[in-house]
């Protein structure tokens, strides 16, 4: 019995009128936790009741505290009939369980009803008294902190980065249970919300246990997702990176450091493993207790989880920290241990040594109802398979780790595509648990640090390359080999030297497929996938060249499956890395040179393309320093040297032999125009309109080349659904529609946000779904940040100077915070601190050729440059049912509505995050049976999203926070039935609740505070959002 939960219901306001006769409401409140329920008195005839209740006390043990949400229901008392529910509030009390996070949850929460939306607000105070000593408490998984942020959170330092943790739980979806036929939509929605809340609570607790077993105390880059598998169930899965974090002494009052920087760097990282050992041991009683308790409550068995140590054969491996990810020596050991994956996208300085390339794997599965819940074959076996695939891809690239790792699914009826991707990398083991290898690493680090190009150097053996690539000596240090192009899934490392600015690049693609059932359908999909991936990469490469850039960061490729089509959408931020060679141009070649006018047309196109490249170079300020010809080679090769690009998958294999593959290493691409398809593609290359002047966009945390952010931010979500005319749907028409949809969406965003110019759209995140046959839904979440124009216009040269400056400020920071692993502890830091990863992509033609060979071989695994894809079809197997618990976010707000900022980034420009209050993870369902009256689908969804934002803000405010960072809308599932005047939407959001302090205020507080901090960050201004 480690705790007593105390809840007080203070008051309500703006309640809806429940009694038509009096135009008033007789409201009371039920407070439920676990199986205990308390009620307040009925407050008669008021829309603003003042209950001012006693403290309701729940005596509970820590698992309950961790798993159960506090459930508050507001009702209207009715003497003669059943009481009417007004709405509910779920409060996740998890943040009260860490000693460092919030101490009280207190504030106004929107009262939410799944049918009516927000109906007034309720003021609640929640506290937890812990009976036991802190020590014991910390041994339960309660003490483990969770962060959505995919870098080491500011105000912490990483002592050890242990590695990958994952878990999944399954259950039946209440929406598909028999009882759903007789209960109301409200009851059904609430059952679903509550179940998902319970499941995610359970999931989080289980992940926490794994972290404790690894001797960590936190999960960073925590990503939890739901798979709504319909009939076959509901899956909640999560991945993250286990770490041991140390809180930096109160960031608001920095103490001048006394240590020398170098000392810090070397000593602190190594020192800790022992000292943290104490909070290590896995608390087995809790573990088992949980299992049984859940079973009782839900009468379903705990699903088998591969890596939990219960049940599956891999139990022994789980405690295994990622030991040094050194090359060969430890390689085999690592292989057998864990997945050396990291969900981080930004890293402490020195962590990332080399980057090999993007690795990805996909698998098509058939979902099947669970016939035998005990059958071992479950969803986690599928994921294990995919992770294995990823791991072997990484190995093939000479890398022992995968960073920027993420997983996703796309489900349509009974077909499910599982995808995983990441960036193969070589890491510095210093930060992993094993300190012994330190010696060899030091060297490596030394070699990397000065240049800022180390991460670009190839990790694989030049003579034994995993794929054909065009290598040159690094343009920065001239010592090591680098590839011609780099693709990665991570953020741009802070120390990377970039020329000019970056920009958002998207590849968009649709493929029709026949409607089919079961296996036939899965087979059709898996046959299409390689072509899709190939096309997507072709587009990315072409667009990258068109921008005159040579590297992609934050690459995210999403493949979405629908009834009769597949959609592919890849987004990335293109940059020009100074360490890589200058990209060549794009050549167009006509296939039938006989016709004169055709020739003319071709040359016209060629001119347009060349002009575009030149224009882009100017636009993005790409003026790399001149380097002697012999090294660079001429930008546009002689015609004979051109490699040809094979663009359509319909090309016959005969043509393969025509390809001049031996010239694949040249730096220009040739687009061969041999059919209308190709023509379209070239056109579409040119139709991508650059953002209007004053606008930049990227999908990474910050925009390369802009580093003077001001403090105005505006986070937004935009959703569009288009209906395709079902007539004459061709791939071409589809592509055009999809392309227009995305382009128009971007144009609308630029227009809407024009008052913020000059500004940059950061972390632009597109999600595509195909809710019905002819519907395409695109959801975009991003943040617009203003910046100081004058600073932004700085030349490359000054930019470099800046980065030098920044480096020196980093040193200062090190003085202050020993061993600051989180390089970007400053929110305003323009660049995320990670040491980067980069990936190389083999040259295009080479990729092409390897692809063709593979197709010939009918291989299931496709390697394209560093990207590898595997497609397998398997009959799905049963899913276990699981139990779960859930949590909704924590509550509270002040009576005056304070501003709460939301941002998908891990920092707030011009401000310093002083405290993390806990994770926000909320799931809402909204349904309506009066769609027209609520303004149609747009009115309905607009209101719902606004309500979701409001609930997130209220919970953050109640925790005492003033911002949500690393905010993400993980799911937005929208279904409509206009004929019945109905619609339903499910939204899942998460983020980290924080307290931030404006830098200008910080200065006032402690004037002697390091000026460095303030300088680097963007100039703080007023915050408007």
């Amino acid at each position: 019995m480690p705790g007593k939960l105390k809840v007080k219901i203070v008051a309500g306001r703006h309640l809806p009128v429940m009694d038509r006769a009096s135009d008033l409401t007789d409201a009371f409140v039920e407070v439920k936790f676990g199986n205990t329920t308390f009620k307040t008195d009925v407050y008669l005839k008021s829309l603003n009741p003042q209950w001012n209740s006693e403290w309701f006390k729940f005596e509970v043990d820590d698992e309950d505290l961790q798993d159960e949400p506090l459930q508050i229901t507001v009702l209207d008392h009715d003497t003669y009939s059943a009481n009417d529910a007004i709405g509910k509030v779920y409060i996740d009390i998890d943040p009260l369980l860490y000693s460092e996070a919030a101490t009280v949850i207190s504030g106004w929460f929107p009262i939410y009803d799944t049918i009516h939306g927000i109906r007034g607000e309720i003021n609640v105070v929640v506290k937890v008294d812990l009976f036991n000593d802190l020590n014991r408490f910390r041994q339960s998984s309660c003490g483990v902190k969770f962060f959505c942020t995919t870098s080491i959170p500011k105000c912490y330092r990483a002592v050890i980065i242990h590695g990958f943790v994952e878990e999944l739980v399954v259950n039946e979806d209440p929406e598909y249970q028999w009882i759903d036929r007789i209960r109301t939509p409200r009851a059904s929605n609430e059952a679903r919300q509550r179940l998902i809340s319970l499941m995610s609570g359970e999931l989080q607790r289980k992940i926490g246990l794994k972290v404790l077993e690894m001797r960590g105390n936190a999960v960073v880059g925590y990503l939890q997702c739901f798979d709504l598998e319909g009939e076959s169930g509901l899956v909640v899965r999560a991945i993250g990176t286990a770490c041991t974090l140390d809180k930096l002494s109160s960031p608001a009052a920095f103490l001048p450091a006394c240590n020398s920087p170098s000392k810090e760097m070397k000593e602190s990282p190594l020192a800790h493993p022992p000292s943290h050992g104490c909070r290590s041991t896995h608390n087995s009683p809790i573990h088992t207790a949980t299992g049984s308790r859940l079973t009782q409550n839900f009468s379903v068995s705990v699903p088998t989880l591969i890596y939990t140590g219960m049940g599956s054969g891999s139990a022994g491996k789980e405690g295994g920290p990622f030991k040094a990810l050194l090359r060969q020596q430890t390689q085999s050991a690592l292989e057998q241990r864990e997945f050396p994956f990291f969900t981080l996208t930004a890293f402490p300085p020195g962590f990332l040594v080399h980057v090999g390339g993007v690795v990805s794997a996909r698998s098509v599965k058939l979902l099947d109802r669970i016939h035998n819940p005990d059958e071992p074959e479950t969803r986690d076996a599928w994921w294990a398979e995919i992770r294995q695939e990823i791991k072997s891809h990484a190995k093939a690239l000479g890398c022992h780790a995968v960073v920027g790792y993420s997983e996703s699914t796309s489900i349509c009826e009974e077909v499910c595509i599982l995808s995983a991707s990441g960036t193969a990398a070589v890491l510095n083991p210093r930060f992993l648990q094993d300190g012994t290898v330190e010696g060899c690493l030091e060297q490596r680090i030394e070699e990397n640090l000065p240049a800022g190009c180390g991460f670009c150097h190839i990790p694989y053996d030049e003579l034994n390359m995993p794929f054909p690539a065009h290598l040159t000596y690094c343009y920065n240090c001239r010592k090591q080999k680098v590839p011609d192009v780099l693709f990665t899934t991570i953020d741009l490392p802070t120390d990377a030297t970039v020329v000019g600015k970056g920009c958002l690049i998207q590849a968009r693609l649709c493929r029709l497929k026949k409607k089919a059932q079961a296996e036939a359908n899965a087979t059709a999909i898996s046959n299409l996938l390689p072509f899709m991936e190939y096309e997507v990469h072709t587009q990315l490469m072409n667009k990258l060249k068109l921008k005159g850039m040579n590297a992609l960061f934050g690459l995210r490729i999403q493949i979405t499956v629908g009834e009769n089509m597949l959609m592919g959408l890849a987004s990335a931020t293109a940059v020009y890395l100074a360490a890589l060679p200058m990209p060549g141009g794009i050549q167009i070649a006509g296939k039938t040179p006989s016709d004169g006018s055709y020739e003319q047309h071709i040359s016209h196109m060629q001119k347009k393309i060349s002009d575009t490249i030149a224009k882009n170079k100017e636009l993005y300020e790409i003026n790399p320093p001149e380097i002697s010809e012999e090294i660079i080679g001429s930008p546009i090769p002689e015609p004979k040297q051109r490699s040809r690009l094979l663009r359509s998958q319909s090309e016959s294999s005969d043509e393969v032999t025509e390809l001049d593959l031996s010239h694949g290493k040249k730096d220009a691409f040739v687009l061969e125009i041999d059919d209308t398809d190709a023509m379209e593609d070239v056109h579409s290359l040119l139709t991508d309109v650059p953002p209007p002047s004053g606008f930049y966009s990227c999908n990474t945390e910050i925009m390369p080349g802009i580093n003077n952010w001001t403090s105005e931010i505006q986070m937004f979500t935009s959703v569009r659904v288009i209906r395709l005319s079902s007539l004459n749907l061709t791939n071409q028409a589809l592509n055009k529609n999809f392309n227009d949809l995305c382009e128009n969406l971007l144009k609308s965003l630029y227009f809407k946000l024009r008052s913020m110019i000059p500004c940059c759209l950061c972390h632009v995140n597109f999600t595509v779904s195909l809710p019905e046959d002819e519907l395409i839904q695109v959801t975009v979440t991003a943040v617009a940040i203003t910046f100081d124009k004058n600073q932004a216009l700085q030349t490359t040269k000054t930019h470099i100077e800046k980065s030098l400056q920044r480096a020196s400020t980093d040193n200062e920071e090190l003085l202050q915070f020993p061993l600051e692993l989180c390089s970007d502890s400053l929110p305003s830091h323009p660049f995320p601190p990670a040491k980067a990863t980069s990936v190389d992509y083999s040259s295009f033609a080479d990729r092409c050729s390897s692809w063709i060979e593979l197709i010939k071989l009918k291989a299931q695994t496709i390697r394209r440059g560093s990207i590898k894809t595997t497609v397998t079809v398997e009959k799905a197997s049963p899913m276990g049912e699981g139990n779960f618990r859930n949590r909704s976010a924590p509550p509270c707000a002040n009576s005056t509505v304070g501003v709460v900022k939301m941002t998908p980034l891990s920092f707030i420009p011009g401000a310093k995050i002083t405290k993390y209050l806990g994770i926000i993870n909320m799931f809402f369902i909204r349904e309506t049976t009066s769609l027209r009256e609520e303004g149609g689908v747009s009115g309905f969804l607009h209101a719902f999203i606004a309500e979701v934002f409001a609930m997130v803000r209220a919970h953050v405010a109640a925790l005492g926070g003033n911002a949500v960072v690393s905010y993400i809308m993980k799911q937005c599932v929208f279904m409509e039935n206009p004929n019945k005047n109905q619609a339903q939407c499910l939204i899942n959001v998460s983020g980290d609740a924080v307290i931030f302090v404006r830098e200008s205020e910080l200065e006032v507080i402690s004037t002697q505070q390091p000026t460095a901090n303030c300088q680097q960050s963007c100039a703080g201004g007023e915050v408007t959002t």
């Binding site: 306001r13 703006h14 106004w108 929107p110 927000i118 607000e121 209007p692 505006q714 986070m715 937004f716 979500t717 935009s718 959703v719 569009r720 659904v721 288009i722 209906r723 395709l724 005319s725 529609n737 227009d740 949809l741 128009n744 144009k747 609308s748 965003l749 227009f751 809407k752 024009r754 519907l775 839904q777 707000a893 509505v897 501003v899 709460v900 900022k901 939301m902 303004g935 689908v937 747009s938 009115g939 969804l941 607009h942 209101a943 999203i945 606004a946 309500e947 934002f949 409001a950 803000r953 209220a954 929208f974 408007t1024 959002t1025």
Partner: protein, 357 residues
Amino acid sequence: MTSELDIFVGNTTLIDEEVYRLWLDGYSVSDAVALRVRAGILEQTGATAAVLQSDTMDHYRTFHMLERLLHAPPKLLHQLVFQIPPSRQALLIERYYAFDEAFVREVLGKKLSKGTKKDLDDISAKTGITLKSCRRQFDNFKRVFKVVEEMRGSLADNIQQHFLFSDRLARDYAAIVFFANNRFETAKKKLQYLSFGDFAFCAELMIQNWTLGAVDSQVDDMDMDLDKEFLQDLKELKVLVADKDLLDLHKSLVCTALRGKLGVFSEMEANFKNLSRGLVNVAAKLTHNKDVRDLFVDLVEKFVEPCRSDHWPLGDVRLFLNQYSVTVHSLDGFRHQALWDRYMDTLRGCLLRLYHD
């Protein structure tokens, strides 16, 4: 390819002032798009018509959702759904409750009832203001009226407190409510030359001096209704014109004081008795509701028009009225000095304001 759904939701609610104005003016989305195009926004921003359409729809939807909250502005401040900076909230409220001069002149002094609402079509046709906008303005008047009609305390303060208006707007609404409550006739042809500002000015003076609130701040409706007792007492002033001696004395005192100071002295002298009778009779008639309603008509007929036909300059009117009211204090045998001052001080202010072309 048709757009089924198209929304944009910001953590901070975006408010486009231009689109807000178009929405308030009652334009449909397509009209608003056309007007924006005409204003040259496409050229300025390089946007396409589709983008503009989408943007306009989006703003309209937002405004539609905000409208419910704007009906009770304190709710807008406390609600959690739309995060809007305070300065923007103030702007939303102020603009929503702003009204058109042309419209308010049509409605001022009318009962805010369903009957009047039915006439909005005509008003819309006459003023060129869209029917939608007329309705909004009418409903705003009525809403404010309903909320404050039974309240104690200063009318303008109550309005400000419950609707969070600026001082200026709160005073305007106080005038509208006051006129609606007392049903002053303002629509007659001879009153057409008067602006809303003229009436609002008079309303403020009347609220300050002629209502219950002017004597007792603890009564309900104190600023809405005229002080009946006071109106009743005004009959006593009749003696000023009924008593011939008193009238002659009054005239001679005024003429003595103004001789040589007034450009229109002879006209004044000739008209004195008529003017004085007019002003005093207006007072004496105020016991009847019907005559209260005609107050402005009477003032214009009995005073403004005669003076204007003789081309009195405003300065002369002022001198005259000052002298006219002050000299009453010198009339021995006239015992209602306080009553006279309460009446005449306000009336003088009103007349001066009403006296223009």
